[in-house]
């Protein structure tokens, strides 16, 4: 292997020089890269494929994009594997080559901290490679130092969206790397921020931001799972590696990375596939550790999960480690070869195809074949597009970041921004081809809000299906397999949970749905820079995919994959990667089928309409996504804060935090939103601005639905108001509306919440129905609490004018009646109650119903030990000696019943 690697390195370098064109970035790293490339030189084609695969994230995205591209080119795509390897898709071919080169670099570089730096720069060309590099970078960074990571992030992020995703993932996944985590998190958070913000700016409902955020959280989760699954992964990963090796031993390092992706394809089919994909990811992650071995710390961390792999690989030098890994991988590959011998001999893509069949998932197999070609092509194209896009986006994003977190470190911001873009692209692809497009086209998105919306819509649909898959890798695998079967709807539900981001998209879709394809057209136009054709193709793809159930499943899977991919890249969380890969592959497979695409597209168009209908369902997941996003953002904010502080060398107390700077401005245009308690910083893209909230309030007021729904909506409105720190008459109106509804529904806790907020708002001089609510407050305190001091303070706080108010007068009269025991008067007042005063009076223990109340009273009285005597005339008499106070109240009711 080593020999191969050495040889390959040199060739690769050459290849890189020519094919990659990555150009400027590479320069720094080149030496190392070049050495690796050499191996690829011969096997470049095969390698390239592997590379693409390895950087699953990019690949995934690419696939989607590719799919779209392939959509047009689909015919060639199937065969393309070879062709791709050689030159791949037209666009992809070039990109692929670079990718392979970069990938190799990444792996080789592991040893070289410099790699990261160089990579990032160079990465522009090879997104895939960057992804791998980043993974390693994550692991490495801890070892080396923050600086490295920082540099990494910046370059990588700039160049590779995928890479960005990877980086972030490590942060989350790798708890062990505190240093790294911090730096990474900060970077990642920053990225998210940047993404989200930019998106928001461009289009409030950009799925990209949402996705990115969602992807982050999901990543973390996957990690844990992945850890558990490590053993499997290892095994699987090894095979994967082997398969890759088959393509090119010399490129083992890169192969390892690549192979994972390729494996993931194969693995996509069943749960095991998921593991395989993860394995691939793990391998990639492992690879970093292997490189890291030089740096003991990282290895240990990784070792926990991937000790097995590491143990073999840990050879002193990074390169050696890599090599070792490669050998291992080869072994595994052989194993895989056993499983799918044909695949091994064939190019990785081919292997994938063969594997696909072997997996038993017929549909997947077919799809996979098609997909593979597509994926490659798409990957390459995507990467290229990403590169282009990324570069521009980064600067844009960076400004956005700076806006958001002005104080945050410039470097971090830059890195973050770059990362974010990466995330976006990654996340987008994961969700859908459209999303992928959006990711790359983040700029485009900004320019074209509609287009993004469309993409979002699309994404959401798939996401809906995806969620469950995310939860359980195996499940996803199953889903992937099942997708072929017509079980898309159930999957969608499952997916909805996991795909909160999608939900957001769905919400966007609701509005956008009408726009429908027009938006997609816009997208295409937006995409143009990178892959106008591809984007269009992708969009078509998605649609076509959606049509078949399988397609739907695949889409969600893709989304998940994207997120997972990102995660994987960051923490080298194998499991996540695997999941992502599986999903990704599934999606890729769907994409691959060019002939079916047209049909799919038609189906999709139909589905989109359906998806709109299912927007409500998706909303749930949407909120989840929002939460995730919010979490991410908070983290970012916090991290940025910390970074600022650290930079400044001063630690700020909580009270010194400039909350004004952190106050967000919502961009969500969705009128309806389910309430979900925030557990992290809010995500502007999920928060509605005031004008939308006003519509939402009007909607709730006009709604004929039950209180639970209204309460939920109002709580979400309140939440949005709170996070945006909107305190005006509209805020008062919302609280008043909610308080009234709560009163009518007898929801006292909710009423009290609103009441206390209203008290505060009124105290700040905001006008509302002050008197009405001070009357409610009085009634509530006197009838529903036993706190005399509260009552005293409430009464003492009444102004002269307030005491002249009808409602307040009424409340005071009620108080007097209760105090003097004049329950007749109480019930008279109940009947005359202004506003909703009766709601508070009525809920006070006594049941005031219709004409049959008298009998109820008798039953009630007897139950409470009252002695009822019937006198000669049949009139009831009550022995007052045994009466309780409550009974008296009931008695008074009886009395009132006899009133005319």
């Amino acid at each position: 292997m080593t020999s191969h690697a050495a040889g390959s390195d040199a060739p690769q370098a050459e290849v890189i020089g020519a094919g990659q064109t990555n150009p400027s970035p590479y320069p720094p790293v080149p030496s190392g890269h070049q050495s690796w490339p050499s191996s690829t030189g011969t096997a470049t084609v095969s390698w390239n494929y592997p590379v693409d695969k390895p950087s699953p994230d990019t690949v995934y995205y690419d696939p989607q994009r590719d799919v779209s591209v392939t959509g047009a080119e689909s015919v060639g795509s199937s065969v393309p594997n070879a062709a791709h390897s050689t030159m791949g898709m037209e666009n992809a071919a070039q990109s692929h080559v670079p990718y392979s080169n970069t990938v190799q670099h990444g792996y080789n570089p592991v040893d070289y901290t410099n790699y990261y730096y160089s990579y990032p720069q160079a990465t522009n060309d090879s997104s895939v490679q960057q992804g791998a590099n980043q993974h390693t970078g994550a692991a490495y960074q801890p070892l080396t130092s923050f600086q490295n990571s920082g540099s990494y992030i910046d370059p990588t992020s700039n160049t590779y969206y995928n890479a960005g995703g990877h980086q972030t993932v490590p942060g989350y996944g790798s708890n062990n790397y505190y240093y790294q985590n911090n730096s990474w998190n900060g970077g990642s958070t920053g990225n998210h921020y940047a993404q989200a913000q930019p998106y928001q700016n461009y289009t409030p409902s950009d799925t990209n931001s949402l996705q990115s955020s969602t992807s982050m959280p999901t990543n973390s989760l996957p990690y844990q799972q992945q850890y558990n699954q490590w053993p499997y992964y290892y095994n699987h990963s090894v095979p994967n590696a082997s398969s890759n090796p088959a393509t090119g031993n010399s490129t083992t390092d890169t192969i390892a990375v690549n192979t994972p992706s390729g494996y993931s394809y194969s693995s996509n089919q069943p749960p095991p596939p998921g593991t395989t994909s993860w394995k691939n990811n793990s391998v990639a992650s492992v690879a970093p550790p292997v490189q890291a071995p030089g740096v003991p710390g990282p290895q240990h961390q990784y070792t926990n999960q991937a000790e097995n792999q590491y143990s073999p690989a840990p050879v002193g030098p990074w390169s050696q480690n890599n090599y070792a890994n490669q050998p291992l991988a080869f072994h595994h590959d052989t194993a895989k070869l056993n499983h799918a011998p044909p695949s091994n001999p064939e190019v990785q893509q081919k292997t994938v195809d063969s594997k696909g069949p072997s997996l038993n998932i017929l549909s997947t197999n077919n799809v996979s074949e098609n997909f593979q070609p597509n994926l490659q092509g798409s990957v390459t194209e995507d990467t290229s597009s990403e590169r282009k896009i990324q570069i521009p986006t980064n600067p844009r994003i960076a400004p956005g970041l700076s806006m958001l977190v002005p104080k945050s470190e410039k470097k971090n911001l830059g890195a973050d921004i770059s990362k974010k873009p990466a995330y976006i692209s990654v996340s987008v692809p994961a969700k859908d081809a459209k999303t992928a497009q959006v990711g790359p086209d983040s700029i485009v998105r900004k320019a074209i809000a509609d287009g993004t919306i469309h993409t979002k819509n699309w994404d959401t649909e798939p996401l809906l299906t995806m969620p469950e898959g995310v939860v359980a890798l195996t499940e996803t695998g199953a889903k992937n397999s099942s997708p072929f079967l017509p079980t898309s709807t159930p999957r969608k539900r499952l997916k909805s949970r996991w795909e909160p981001a999608v939900d957001e998209k769905v919400t966007d879709k609701v509005e956008q749905i009408a726009k429908g394809w027009v938006n997609s057209n816009i997208h295409n136009s937006s995409d143009p820079k990178n892959k106008t054709g591809s984007s269009r193709n992708q969009g078509k793809f998605i649609q076509s995919q959606q049509v078949p159930l399988n397609k739907v499943n695949q889409r969600p899977a893709k989304k998940q994959k994207h997120s997972s991919q990102i995660q994987n890249g960051n923490a080298s969380s194998d499991s996540d990667k695997e999941q992502d890969l599986t999903k990704y592959y599934a999606s890729a497979t769907t994409l691959a089928n060019s002939p079916e695409e047209k049909k799919r597209r038609e189906h999709r168009s139909k589905r989109f309409e359906k998806s709109q209908d299912s927007s409500l369902k998706s909303r749930n997941s949407f909120e989840n996504n929002k939460d995730v996003m919010a979490n991410m953002r908070t983290r970012r904010a916090v991290s940025s804060f910390l970074t600022r502080n650290s930079e400044e060398g001063t630690s700020l107390a909580v009270e010194d935090i400039d909350w004004d700077a952190l106050t967000i401005k919502g961009t969500c245009q969705e009128i309806e939103k389910q309430y979900l308690r925030l557990t992290s910083a809010p995500d502007p893209s999920t928060v509605r601005p005031e004008e939308v909230l006003e519509k939402a309030l009007a909607m709730v007021e006009a709604s004929q639905r039950n209180y639970l729904y209204k309460c939920d909506q109002l709580k979400s409105i309140r939440q949005d108001l709170t996070v945006q720190r909107i305190q005006n008459e509209f805020t008062v109106k919302v609280y008043e509306t909610h308080a009234r509804l709560a009163m009518q529904a007898g929801d006292l806790p909710e009423f009290n919440q609103c009441q206390s907020q209203l008290k505060r708002l009124y105290a700040e001089g905001i006008r509302g129905c002050n008197f009405e609510f001070s009357a409610y407050n009085l009634l509530c305190v006197m009838l529903h609490s036993n706190n005399k001091r509260d009552l005293l303070s409430s009464m003492a706080s009444l102004s002269k004018e307030a005491k002249q108010d009808v409602a307040v007068k009424h409340a005071l009269a009620v108080h007097a009646a209760v105090l003097s025991g004049n329950y007749v008067l109480f019930f008279k007042l109940y009947k005359q109650a202004p506003n909703l005063n009766s709601c508070l009076m009525g809920s006070e223990g006594s049941v005031i119903s219709g004409d049959d109340g008298l009998e109820e009273c008798e039953i009630w009285l007897k139950a409470h030990g009252a002695v009822l005597l019937a006198d000669n005339n049949g009139e009831l008499q009550i022995d007052m000696k045994h009466f309780t106070c409550q009974s008296q109240r009931m008695l008074s009711r009886m009395v009132t019943h006899r009133l005319p």
Partner: protein, 409 residues
């Protein structure tokens, strides 16, 4: 004056003050130390404050002279200086630092010699906090100093409410805490302190100083008024009244302000001379209404003094006197009826009550009156039963209007 002060003189005065503080501490002279710590009671301009104004480098002087006391003396001097400049928020902040340093030392002293000084610190920190909050309120800032003083005093209380000779000083701090909590309206915080005082088995409550006991009983009695535990409130307030210094007219009045409503609710009416003597005439009309059964007068009196009663917290107590007024009214009707028609003295037609209320300009119908009478019967203010059909209240022939005699309604 400060302008003419030479640096040397200022230096000497500050040094003198510091030396006295140091000497009081070293000689364990609690009284002398307490007088030196009474920051807020000194006039705005004293020789010391002038010196501090003329010698702005006093923190260094204190630090150089008494390095071991620097963490106490430096903020103390700052407090005096800020206080003389009427910068109360600054003065409070400095004094809290000094007090913390003092408390730390106080914990280490075995004997309670510095109890008096500790009490002065507790008092001063409360007074300074109140001044600081006033200043912060006028400047539009958040007045949180009194709250901070409360939490500091809880620390002091923790240092005192332990076994040993220091415990005797705990009640004083408790009373300071009460004052803070009552002012802040966070009286629920009193509960933990009360529990600590009342559940202590190793220290008899009667061993505390009388002045502290009176204050303590006054506040806990007020708390019981809030809770409408009139019997306990009566007991505590009576204790306070009995043990209060009879010369302290202000304190007597404070106690009576709450004791009278409590006694009223227990059916004990004060003489008018008592109300006049202590200038508590706001209760006079209420007492009269109780005597006459004049519901209108009661409501008028409550209305007239509503703000006052609401502020002190007795409004609800007085409102609850209404049933007693009804009782008195029915009793009057009963007496009149007995004179006019002895045979049917015990049968009171509800219409008559309605008519009587109408004279009082209170508009009630028969049903309402019947309800009220039912309540009176239930509360044992009237003995009897209804003849619902004929709308007649039949009174017991024996003691139809039981007196409360110290029992709550």
């Amino acid at each position: 004056m400060a302008a003419y002060l030479s640096m040397g003189e200022a230096h000497r005065r500050i040094g003198d003050y510091l030396a006295r503080v140091s000497r009081a501490i070293s000689s364990s002279d609690g009284t002398a130390l307490a007088s030196l710590l009474a920051v807020s009671s000194v006039p705005a301009s004293t020789p010391l404050t002038d010196a501090l104004a003329a010698f702005p480098d006093f923190p260094r002087l204190a630090g150089d002279r008494f390095p071991n006391l620097a963490d106490f003396l430096v903020p103390l001097l700052r407090t005096i200086h800020s206080h003389s400049l009427q910068r109360y928020a600054d003065a409070y902040s400095s004094f809290e630092k000094a007090a913390s340093a003092f408390l730390q030392e106080f914990r280490n002293w075995e004997s309670p010699w510095a109890m008096e000084a500790m009490h002065t610190v507790a008092l001063e920190i409360r007074l300074l906090a109140e001044k600081a909050d006033r200043e912060l309120t006028t400047s539009g800032k958040n007045p949180d100093k009194l709250q901070a003083a409360g939490s500091f005093l809880m620390k002091v209380f923790g240092a005192l409410a332990v076994k040993g000779p220091k415990r005797i000083g705990a009640l004083y701090v408790t009373c300071q805490l009460f004052k803070i909590y009552f002012r802040l309206g966070t009286v629920n915080l009193c509960r933990s302190v009360i529990r600590s005082i009342e559940t202590a088995r190793n220290f008899d409550f009667e061993d505390f100083p009388v002045k502290d006991k009176v204050t303590y009983m006054y506040y806990t009695g007020r708390l019981e008024v809030f809770n409408e535990n009139f019997l306990v409130a009566d007991q505590k307030l009576t204790y306070a009244l009995v043990h209060c210094n009879p010369q302290s007219e202000l304190n007597l009045r404070r106690i009576l302000k709450f004791l009278i409503p409590v006694k009223l609710s227990l059916g004990v009416l004060p003489k008018r001379t008592l109300l006049e003597k202590h200038n508590l005439l706001e209760y006079a009309d209420i007492v009269t209404s109780l005597k006459r059964g004049d519901l209108r007068l009661l409501r008028q009196a409550l209305d007239r003094h509503e703000d006052q009663f609401l502020k002190s917290g007795v409004y609800l107590v007085l409102e609850k006197l209404e049933p007693q007024v009804y009782q008195r009214l029915v009793k009057k009707i009963h007496i009149i009826q007995r004179q006019k028609e002895p045979a049917k003295a015990h049968q009171i037609k509800l219409d008559v009550v309605v008519k009587a209320l109408k004279w009082l300009e209170i508009d009630m119908d028969v049903d309402e009156v019947e309800c009220i009478m039912a309540c009176l019967i239930y509360k044992n203010l009237i003995k009897g039963y209804f003849a619902h059909k004929s709308k007649v209240l039949v009174l017991s022939k024996q003691d139809p209007f039981p007196k409360l005699n110290g029992k709550p309604v």
